[in-house]
């Protein structure tokens, strides 16, 4: 599914913003001057990640503490092996382009 890219203002250093876009809840953050964008949903037990602490390029889920690499989406530890979806962010001056074009919204499934 092809979706439109997201354009937005750059964020202040060490801040974050949650944006609804094309069926995704996206968490955009600026940590140490670098912007990252990930889906705002923990792949472990489906919680919003936006209140998680960000340190060393990782965000920690506030519920059980699973940490995801903001760059690759890969989780650490063994609570989940499913990466969180990441989106490339390009910055031009004060503007960001969050690239969504290869994204697919997740299908809801219950086990």
């Amino acid at each position: 599914m092809v979706t439109s890219d997201l354009e937005m203002d750059a964020l202040a250093s060490d801040s974050r913003k949650v944006i609804q876009h094309e069926g995704f809840c996206i968490l955009v953050c600026n940590t140490g001057g670098v912007h990252y964008a990930i889906e705002n949903r923990c792949t472990h037990q489906d919680t919003s990640l936006d209140e998680g602490r960000i340190r060393n390029g990782f965000i920690a889920c506030p519920l059980h503490g699973v940490r995801f690499d903001l760059k690759t989406g890969q989780p650490r530890g063994d609570l989940t092996r499913i990466p969180v979806q990441t989106f490339a962010v390009k910055q031009t001056g004060d503007r960001l382009l969050v690239q969504m074009h290869k994204a697919d919204p997740h299908n809801e499934a219950t086990t």
């Binding site: 472990h44 037990q45 209140e51 998680g52 602490r53 340190r55 060393n56 990782f58 920690a60 889920c61 506030p62 519920l63 059980h64 503490g65 699973v66 940490r67 650490r76 530890g77 063994d78 609570l79």
Partner: protein, 453 residues
């Protein structure tokens, strides 16, 4: 006729060597505390036997203080670090009141581990991923889903089990035995010997955790003596042979300190101070420009120490002028039983932690940290993620280790061979030198006291 343990290498002692330095070394460096601890072989079964490993797991590890992390791993409330030793696991955390606490890493409902092995992260509270029992950062049972079904459960009986935790020099130590002696008592002479160092103000610059193909004790032993240096690190050459002191302190501390850049008294024709200077230049730490000329009457050691203090001072924006030559250059290694090594020196700022692999006594885990001095008043960066290396991986993959990466490979290359040899050697045990390998004997003496008690 000398009694066993009284013999020493020809030439001067370490203490005599550093007494010639231009700067006064710390008092503790001049201390002699060797004790003859016997000369019986150490049985190989203490390394290879599953029963012995099990005995250590039952009687040793649950009862000793162990370094779980640095304070900088958990700077803010809700930060946590998991420390695993064998089948035991602890969560170390910072509470809302900035207290450090440690808990057994298991839900009080059906025992699920609350956090994965080795995990480091942040959470607002400890929430079991199985049924959602929630504990505060203070360990108190806060939420019990469907509590109508648990009239027999409450915060009084089902809060997290706290274990002992305390800090020294920025390190967080835990002890699973709630009746254990205090950390201060356990540390013995360490705080006094570290009076002239600012270890609490150091911060982790590099952290590598490697799985080693040898029992945890043999892994530690590879770093307890400088006897191996000439063969393992210098291809048998005499020049690098250091002058070393070996000392044992009650009950849990021992050390070696060896010179860097002093004349080896065993050489038939000793090098000149300028030749020593050329050998040192660029070997440790930064070296820019031309090799300094050692003035008449001065030593290469003292000249090089000044260079190191200035260059590291510029690199870290700190003043190291109060460090003596010995503190700056020498390889100063203290051991705290059972698995913690710390090098307080300026140019060799390492920390080691060894842990058994609970699945196989022939393997162990080695956490290697480089601590860098830091000005605590300035902004500190969080500690780096550990680089995980498996048995076959080279330490040279860890950029932060610099030239020491290849040196650690040399140390660990011997280990698989030692494990194989333990099993084929007909003699039955390791033979130890009375002086240079006394720290190994001290380690086994302490283990015996725990295992047989």
């Amino acid at each position: 006729m000398l009694k066993p343990g009284e013999a020493r290498a020809p030439g001067h002692t370490y203490q005599e060597a550093i007494a010639k330095d231009a700067s006064q070394p710390p008092e503790a460096f001049l201390d002699y505390s060797y004790e003859f601890l016997g000369d019986q072989d150490i049985p190989y079964t203490h390394y290879t036997s599953h029963d012995f490993a099990q005995s250590e797991m039952e009687h040793l590890w649950p009862r000793v203080w162990q370094m779980a992390c640095r304070e900088e791993h958990i700077p803010e409330p809700g930060d946590y670090q998991v420390y695993d030793i064998g089948h035991l696991s602890a969560i170390v955390t910072r509470t809302e009141s900035m207290q450090i606490k440690a808990y057994v890493n298991a839900c009080m409902h059906r025992g699920t581990a609350l956090k994965p092995p080795g995990d480091n992260g942040y959470c607002q509270n400890f929430r079991c991923p199985f049924h959602g029992w929630v504990y505060s950062l203070d360990g108190e049972l806060l939420e019990l889903p469907e509590d109508w079904d648990f009239p027999h459960v409450g915060a009084g009986t089902h809060s997290l089990r706290e274990i002992l935790v305390d800090t020294w020099a920025g390190f967080v130590f835990v002890n699973f035995d709630r009746e254990a002696e205090s950390l201060t008592e356990f540390l013995g002479v360490l705080p006094e010997h570290f009076r002239d160092f600012d270890i609490a103000d150091r911060t982790i610059e590099t952290h590598v955790c490697k799985r080693l193909p040898v029992n945890w004790k043999a892994a530690e032993e590879a770093f307890m003596e400088a006897y191996h240096v000439k063969e393992t690190h210098a291809g048998g050459r005499d020049f690098s042979e250091p002058v070393t002191t070996y000392d044992v302190y009650p009950k849990n501390v021992n050390r070696f300190i060896h010179t860097v850049g002093s004349v080896n008294p065993r050489m038939a024709v000793p090098p000149s101070e300028q030749e020593l200077m050329r050998a040192l230049w660029g070997r440790r730490g930064p070296a820019e420009g031309d090799c300094p000329i050692v003035p008449e009457g001065a030593t290469a050691r003292d000249v090089y120490a000044e260079v190191i203090k200035k260059s590291l001072g510029a690199q870290y924006d700190m003043d190291f002028s109060h460090y003596s030559t010995a503190q700056t250059l020498d390889s100063i290694e203290y051991f705290l039983f059972p698995n913690f090594f710390i090098f307080p020196g300026l140019s060799l700022p390492m920390v080691y932690r060894f842990r058994p692999d609970p699945k196989d006594p022939d393997y162990s885990f080695f956490d290697l940290y480089f601590l860098r001095p830091t000005d605590s008043a300035k902004l500190q960066s969080p500690p780096p993620e550990p680089l995980m290396l498996d048995v076959q991986d080279s330490y040279t993959l860890a950029e932060g280790l610099g030239f020491l990466g290849a040196v650690y490979d040399q140390d660990t290359d011997n280990m698989a061979a030692q494990t194989r040899g333990f099993k084929t050697c007909a003699k039955g045990g390791q033979t130890l030198g009375n002086y240079q390998e006394v720290r190994i004997r001290h380690l086994h003496q302490r283990i015996k006291e725990y295992v047989e008690n």
